[in-house]
């Protein structure tokens, strides 16, 4: 079920400094990032980024601080201008937009959610949520009813008349999300939207986002430095390091097949039981459905639930079903093997997971 490609980024470069074009020529001539900084005092922010983002998917861009992820997301609505490259949204070249088109894009196509919420402190929660409609010139009653609707939807019933400073961090970010939703734009850019929240609230917010996404099918670009969060939300995961893409793909696939020591380091700490799904480690069925199994399990079950299911017995095997149809078999021994990072990225598991 491949969806339409919504956003395409091609050969994107961003260099910070007094003469980026000259620095770009050096980079094309093969100069390294550190050499560029040392000799010419230019910082290579993003290096040859090529990304496709599909409609209705959550694309997560993950990287540590300084990896350029926030810079990258700001290129999509041109809060930062690229040094070179191409950005297409719905097949239109965003970089060729004039001021008027760009304003239209920001108002109607993309809405952004910020790490530190960026609510206007002098306006009530409902006014904040309706900001984007108001900017477009909608009537104030319309802004209010729309804002109210989405505030209710994100769980802020009865807070419309409050002011941001009266709300907790988690609630403020709900307002931020409601603001982005009220604009009814197909694309949502979320810049470390949950990073400033404490862990419990953060997982609540992730639930909220997944729940909304199930219903609304927005194209979401989500920035995070937290791998657990990335694994949980991502349909498509992009790992960024020092301004270039280390690896991108389906998150389960990356987890089982890290192609770089950096990615390996990253994923070594993750709780695989919760993140990995049955579908990623099962053996696809060729021909007959085996009958000597211990039952059926769902395609999207986590490994944790599988262990609970089997009572910890590693000799069991199961038939994996998707929408009631048998699609594969799962040996509990494979499951246990998949839990060890090095072993799972070894030959055996790799061939099955691809």
């Amino acid at each position: 079920m491949k969806r339409n490609i919504k956003i395409v980024i091609r050969n994107l470069y961003k260099i910070f400094g007094s003469d980026p074009q000259k620095a770009l020529a050096y980079i094309h001539a093969g100069m390294s990032k550190s050499e560029l900084l040392e000799k010419h005092n230019h910082v290579l922010g993003l290096e040859n980024i090529n990304i496709e983002m599909r409609e209705g998917e959550v694309t997560v861009i993950m990287g540590l601080s300084g990896s350029g992820k926030s810079t990258l997301i700001r290129h999509l609505n041109r809060l930062i201008e690229p040094t070179a490259g191409k950005i297409d949204v719905d097949g239109e070249d965003v970089l060729s937009f004039d001021e008027e088109q760009l304003r239209k894009l920001r108002r109607e196509v993309m809405s952004m959610v910020f790490q530190n919420f960026a609510l206007l402190p002098h306006r009530s929660v409902a006014e904040n949520a309706g900001t984007l409609l108001e900017v477009r010139g909608a009537k104030s009653e319309e802004c209010f009813t729309e804002a109210k609707k989405w505030l209710d939807r994100v769980g802020l019933q009865g807070f419309a008349a409050h002011y941001p400073h009266q709300l907790s961090g988690g609630m403020q970010q709900r307002v931020g999300i409601a603001r982005a939703l009220t604009s009814n734009s197909p694309i949502m850019l979320m810049d470390e939207a949950f990073s400033a929240l404490d862990p419990l609230i953060r997982s609540d917010m992730q639930d909220l986002l997944l729940e909304l996404q199930k219903e609304l099918h927005k194209t979401i670009v989500f920035i995070t430095h937290d791998l657990d969060e990335a694994m949980r939300l991502a349909d498509h995961l992009i790992i960024l390091k020092d301004g270039y893409v280390v690896q991108q793909g389906e998150p389960q696939h990356i987890l089982l097949n890290p192609n770089d020591p950096y990615v390996e380091d990253f994923i070594s700490d993750i709780n695989r039981l919760r993140v990995l799904r049955v579908r990623s480690i099962m053996t696809p069925i060729k021909g007959e459905v085996p009958t000597d199994t211990h039952g059926e399990v769902d395609y999207n079950d986590t490994l944790e639930s599988m262990i609970a299911h089997s009572g910890g017995d590693t000799s069991y095997s199961y038939v994996v079903t998707n929408d009631g149809k048998a699609v594969g078999t799962l040996e509990m021994t494979d499951l246990v093997r998949a839990l060890v990072p090095r072993a799972s990225s070894g030959k055996g598991a790799q061939s099955r997971a691809v």
Binding site: L79, R106, F114, N116, A118, L120, P121, T131, L132, V135
Partner: protein, 345 residues
């Protein structure tokens, strides 16, 4: 022969210097004294070498200007442009005179009980605090009880007009400064000068430009002196608005004016209000000094106290000014803190 002869000799200017000997400037008192006591024949010792000031150089070279020529030149050049300046500034500032005159008359003819009621209403509207209203009532009643009501209300009228004009011009200037770095770099030295220039110095050129009986004379002096804080704090306030919020505003596709009026000014309001508070306090300070150039109000009484050594009159009117200052400061601060509460983050 004097100490710096060699300078002019070396430069080959001796002839030019001596050319003026014939029409030598009148002798100064010091020269005359020195001649009479016969000291001018004495050799100057090396530790007595004078600083090569204009007057010293004039001694060795009669054609070199003296420092009194400098002040004379400044005066002459001011007088030369005075008429032209007046031609431009006079009609331009005439509305200020009318505004001040009519406001003074308005406050004068309105019965005291209406003026006080309106003032109470304004104070309540600005501060939403009955405590403050009663403080203002007590202060004004006290001033009225000691027969200082008219002077106090004249002072207030002048402050209202001047502070209003300061805000009217200062805020747009501050906004322009915050949006343009070059303009800011040009304006800051001017603002520094306006702020550090002693208040009396404002009056000197103004007296030459306008007639002393015209209200705009002191109006301009007060506005120039008091406008600085509101400009500075508007500029600062807008520049201090959280960058993240500005970025968010950009990401929503706000136009420049939506951003300015919907985000920047509201968020800068606490700073702007602090500037307005300062402006009002500085107008009060200047309005007292402006009584030297016929500004009515409590300042006149202070001036009388100084001129006629009427100690009591001076002290009591001084107390009146303190009371006015307290009222104005408390009311604007209360308004400021109301703005602050709604902006807490």
């Amino acid at each position: 022969m004097t100490t710096y002869d060699f300078v002019f000799n070396a430069l080959g200017l001796r002839d030019w210097c001596d050319a003026a000997k014939i029409e030598k400037n009148p002798m100064s008192m010091a020269e005359l004294l020195a001649k009479n006591t016969g000291h001018d024949k004495l050799e100057t010792q090396w530790w007595e070498v004078p600083f090569p000031s204009m007057d010293t150089l004039n001694k060795t070279c009669a054609n070199f200007p003296q420092s009194r020529d400098l002040t004379a030149a400044v005066e002459q050049s001011f007088l030369a442009v005075k008429d032209l300046l007046r031609l431009v500034l006079d009609p331009l500032t005439q509305p200020l005179s009318w505004l001040l005159e009519s406001t003074l008359i308005m406050f004068d003819v309105t019965p005291w009980w209406i003026v006080i009621t309106v003032l109470m209403a304004i104070v309540y509207y600005a501060s939403k605090s009955l405590k403050l209203v009663s403080l203002v009532l007590i202060c004004i009643s006290f001033l009225a009880a000691i027969d200082h009501y008219n002077h106090a209300i004249q002072t207030l009228a002048i402050i209202f007009v001047c502070a209003f004009l300061c805000v009217l011009f200062g805020i747009p200037i501050g906004i322009a400064m915050s949006r343009n770095d070059i303009l800011q770099r040009i304006s800051i030295p001017i603002l520094d000068m306006l702020q550090t220039l002693p208040p009396f110095v404002y009056l000197i050129p103004l007296i030459f430009l306008f007639s002393v009986t015209e209200p705009k004379l002191y109006g301009i002096a007060i506005i120039l002196y008091a406008i600085v804080p509101v400009i500075r704090l508007t500029d600062l306030g807008i520049r201090l608005v959280d960058r993240d919020i500005i970025e968010a505003a950009d990401s929503f596709g706000m136009t420049e004016s939506q951003k300015l009026f919907g985000v920047q000014i509201p968020l800068a309001l606490p700073n702007i209000m602090a500037g307005v508070n300062q402006t009002i306090m500085m107008s009060l300070a200047m309005v007292v000094i402006a009584s030297l150039v016929s500004a009515p109000g409590l300042g006149v009484l202070v001036l009388r106290g100084i001129r006629n050594l009427e100690l009591g009159v001076g002290l009591v009117s001084g107390l009146g000014i303190v009371l006015l200052a307290i009222i104005l400061d408390r009311v604007t601060k209360a308004a400021l803190s109301r703005v602050n509460v709604s902006q807490k983050r």
